[in-house]
Symmetry: D3
Subunit: 254 residues, 6 copies
Amino acid sequence: MTDQLRERWAAGGTALGAWISLRDPIVAETAATVGFDYVCVDLQHGLNDYDGMANAVAAMARTGVTPLVRVPWNEPGIIGRALDAGAAGVIIPMVNSVDEAQRAVSACHYWPIGTRSFGPIALGARGGFAGIEAANEQVLCIPMIETREAVERIDDILDVPGISAVYIGPADLSITYGLRPGMDQADDEWNAAIAKVVASCAAHGVTAGVHSAAALAAKRGEQGFRMITVSSDLGAVAAGFGADLRSSREATGG
Amino acid sequence: MTDQLRERWAAGGTALGAWISLRDPIVAETAATVGFDYVCVDLQHGLNDYDGMANAVAAMARTGVTPLVRVPWNEPGIIGRALDAGAAGVIIPMVNSVDEAQRAVSACHYWPIGTRSFGPIALGARGGFAGIEAANEQVLCIPMIETREAVERIDDILDVPGISAVYIGPADLSITYGLRPGMDQADDEWNAAIAKVVASCAAHGVTAGVHSAAALAAKRGEQGFRMITVSSDLGAVAAGFGADLRSSREATGG
Amino acid sequence: MTDQLRERWAAGGTALGAWISLRDPIVAETAATVGFDYVCVDLQHGLNDYDGMANAVAAMARTGVTPLVRVPWNEPGIIGRALDAGAAGVIIPMVNSVDEAQRAVSACHYWPIGTRSFGPIALGARGGFAGIEAANEQVLCIPMIETREAVERIDDILDVPGISAVYIGPADLSITYGLRPGMDQADDEWNAAIAKVVASCAAHGVTAGVHSAAALAAKRGEQGFRMITVSSDLGAVAAGFGADLRSSREATGG
Amino acid sequence: MTDQLRERWAAGGTALGAWISLRDPIVAETAATVGFDYVCVDLQHGLNDYDGMANAVAAMARTGVTPLVRVPWNEPGIIGRALDAGAAGVIIPMVNSVDEAQRAVSACHYWPIGTRSFGPIALGARGGFAGIEAANEQVLCIPMIETREAVERIDDILDVPGISAVYIGPADLSITYGLRPGMDQADDEWNAAIAKVVASCAAHGVTAGVHSAAALAAKRGEQGFRMITVSSDLGAVAAGFGADLRSSREATGG
Amino acid sequence: MTDQLRERWAAGGTALGAWISLRDPIVAETAATVGFDYVCVDLQHGLNDYDGMANAVAAMARTGVTPLVRVPWNEPGIIGRALDAGAAGVIIPMVNSVDEAQRAVSACHYWPIGTRSFGPIALGARGGFAGIEAANEQVLCIPMIETREAVERIDDILDVPGISAVYIGPADLSITYGLRPGMDQADDEWNAAIAKVVASCAAHGVTAGVHSAAALAAKRGEQGFRMITVSSDLGAVAAGFGADLRSSREATGG
Amino acid sequence: MTDQLRERWAAGGTALGAWISLRDPIVAETAATVGFDYVCVDLQHGLNDYDGMANAVAAMARTGVTPLVRVPWNEPGIIGRALDAGAAGVIIPMVNSVDEAQRAVSACHYWPIGTRSFGPIALGARGGFAGIEAANEQVLCIPMIETREAVERIDDILDVPGISAVYIGPADLSITYGLRPGMDQADDEWNAAIAKVVASCAAHGVTAGVHSAAALAAKRGEQGFRMITVSSDLGAVAAGFGADLRSSREATGG
């Protein structure tokens, strides 16, 4: 199967993604059809459970999109299940130490790199399993960097082999820097933290990714991010509802 | 419970609604929170089945929104089930004759008006059942007018007592006038049909409603519609995804 | 999207199909991957409801298979919903008269052929809607011929324009000929009925289809059937379980 | 499989049943374990859809209880699906005429009695299918008598062969006699209607059944009913919650 | 939103709760309508998974009830997900040590108190998110004290800041004291353990809570408990079924 | 309830099992009806979540089959939930050390053996709970031995009291021996590992189990395995589809 995220990276471009919180596989399918490079089904703060995620990944298999899953926590059971369902990679929350990074890498890879258990059930149904060596090479293990602690240890964390990209969670990162949760901040220290992560990524040959929004895409691209989530399903639906209601109220004198 | 749709009508205003196709009750809840007067869960062309609809109606009960359901067909089983689940009314597709209108009215009302069977299970759980007379008075029985045949018979259809509003389906109406399905048409005959329905509604004291979009709200309001669906969940999410991806591709040089 | 069933027919070949009763979309996806020309999700005697069917159709969209749905009854609501979910056609039980055939055709087609309501939601999400004319041309309206009554009226039924194929249900057909339900019968009258339907199909330019099994594929192909269901999920799983248990009991001395 | 309802009838006793509205198969399983003769999953006013019903019927198969399903309407598609899922019979709402009774009987029986389509999928999985003759003999076709119209025609309705029992819906019956919906009424005309139905059942050799409550069991038994629903899941849970809260508030000085 | 549990505590009263094991959101909605101060959806021994819990919490949002969730284990992933779904607090099983109490507190609070990740998706949809400071102040972190080990360490456990209440699990507590699982015990040591926990709670300004039943409400209230679960859905339904069947069998001579 | 697995063992026989990956409880029910001694619902690489597993276990309760669940990981929350749902035992992946074996045993047993929390909800609904002592005696705690590390420590692992059987995962075991994942291997070291585990089991009075296939049943039985999984649902369906399609293509000249 094609893998639009890696193709974008291979071409030196910036991969753009959509974020899925809603419990309907047609939403992920719509995102994939629209043309994002990756679509990530969020099992942490989103509303899906394993079943909705598996159906969403199946519904996207028709397109070239790279399916990702954010797991609820750095726990090998759900990491394995997400990959077995056909996710090309997992985004793993709250990786704050070398030990946690090693556990993330271990859960994503088969021996000898890690301890993933074998049983790629959905890839089997799709005729797409290419062997454990290929799986170990291709799996996208993407820890989230979203605390002050993680930023301070970023170089050590990125020394752990097997990390494909890191994914900054700006809201959580804001909180541990004493700021209100937000996609962006004016705060110097916070921005220095962002820059430090990007620089460490560059030094380690690891892609820098970030949870973001369309309005920030240019800025994040200039900062060196090559994996930027620019849209979310629930955000889009809430914004669309709000805009449609406001303009129609005005239009109908309400 | 409050009933924002009727309040809007009582105040002489225009009720604005959102349309729900997605299988996640939080979408309907979001629409209700945003402030639409009514939110309609579509069981005909939408993706929900009974269960998703019942959960969506439950999730909206917190707000003052008027929950509606479009049933898949003019069939008493599902009409009763939608009302039992707590819908304040039903939108009924393809009512093209006096006989079909009578069947729609019959399915929505208890004796002596109709043949609805008693068992308002969700209203019971909500402590909101006010008796069969109140139910017969308050239920919104809303046939769809969406064929040439129905337009031609509109006066006879509206003579049937028990119809609260009619709801024009512009896409299907377009088809039976030989046009491509669309929300609006430049075609004179089609526009005359629209005007005829609105006029007949006015003459019969029945609200004119229409499936529409925010960009058409002003026009439909001026035409006399007092129930206008101006937003849809899947439309909003697809539009939001598309806009975010386009602007972000430009912004990131993709 | 490709449409393997029509391609097979266009090439003068015999289309082979799998039958889906189980409530897991990966089963349909497996059938599609294995290479059947069509896969039919059975909403009549199978265990799926709308939701499972819609997810199965989505999971098959990756492949070239032609997705079909057998609806529970000749009822326009569920016929429309199956097509909206992305089915390329519907198999409609117990079509025993010209009137019932006309109602089946009507439910499958938009005006001016029929009365189907517009709202192809899943095709929209897939970017695959090609217009109502194309939809009317391509939809596979497949009535089941499964009673003595239907066999006797087969020529009149096939005179109804808009039928793509007929699908013989051998078990129900057996019953109305006074036989035990079965895939095949030694009974002359029953075999004459089969032959009569195939002959009438040939005369009317309509494909003859039949619910069958792999062991009967050669026979049915020789009889002139060009649409033969040769495998079923629950049948395969029950047969596999049985064979594995028997041989293993023997092997382990049990 | 055992069939506690028929055994009770065969022994000249009164069969007692529980009513299932909740979407959790363990509730039906609990009712079956407690020892009711029949448990009826309500698809009309209850909250289950096909899937929940099928799982409930499967969960009860361990016990000797007779599983029944009330279908949403007198429609052959869902009647067949309920029986295919393993229901021993169906309760069919709003059978008000000879024609409607004939349609109910037809949907419940295979040829030559009716037009049921063959495909008893769950019985197959349970190894319990005993042939179409046995199925035709054993199926419980139970029309509801719940309008004034039906009462007036009761003798004609019961002349239709193939009816095992009738089931009075006292709430709907109350409505068509101009009374508030209730399980029992002081009204003479209403009580005469009840008596008339019981008498007609006795004359026709058909069991009289009634939707009721434990407090009315003695009265209904004396009136000649041999199938009495005396408990409901949502009723029990609401009553239990209410009683526990009231006594505990008092006990804790709240 | 109102928060009946805290209001009850603020008024010096005893909060009474209902326990939800069943997979149908209308059960929790019924409990909330009946008037309990809190309703707890049990993800440990109950039958719900994340999805059922999220729908139950949404269905209760209409009322002033305080929604709680018992998580399956002291694990940050599911604790965060329960709070994101709109639970006002979590009951956390088997907290037997200071370290486990600290982990429970950490999972319930954002920085600087804990390590909860930001993403309150359902509160967002409800327009009810009041900021991370408010969330940290209001979240109800309720460890279960249900082993001898925990009782012995109760003072140290309650020294951990951030605990709102403790919740005694009498069945598990019985087991570690060598008794059969039960809601109450005659055993002196067991009752001394209960008293010790209540006394330690009083000394630490922490509410004492207990899993119980209506028959024990007075006793538990006198012992100083201010959070008493007095009813459960499956218990109520089983008790109601049993009582209805017994009295009806007698009444009908069965 | 009967317990076919233990009966087979008690009789000195070899227990044969089926493996369930599909999300439809009728598949497990079919396996139980066919006559396997145990049926295991796989929550690790299979597609079910808690809900599907609980429904599958309920559907099998009618038969004498021993229901097992493979949990996704060695985590007490899901182990307890599987047993509460009615599983007679759990298969626990990747038990590679004495500490991990002790944690597995602890999660499966109530005090004083372990730390399982009390709440056997489904057994309660089935009237089948026989007390905590019986539960502790009967629960099947079955760690998986599937790494080189585990094989090397097998004697120490089996010294841990409370293990009923071990279950070899040949695919994962292959990987840690540097081989491609497979059900069997020609490799001497790998076969020596298998033999070592069986020998250690014999020495410790623990049953040796293995994930396998019908074609290997004789061999595994001769090696001393007394618990052999010989069939899988998705395997059977994929094999059946493939065989039916191939033979039918040939038969129809395709």
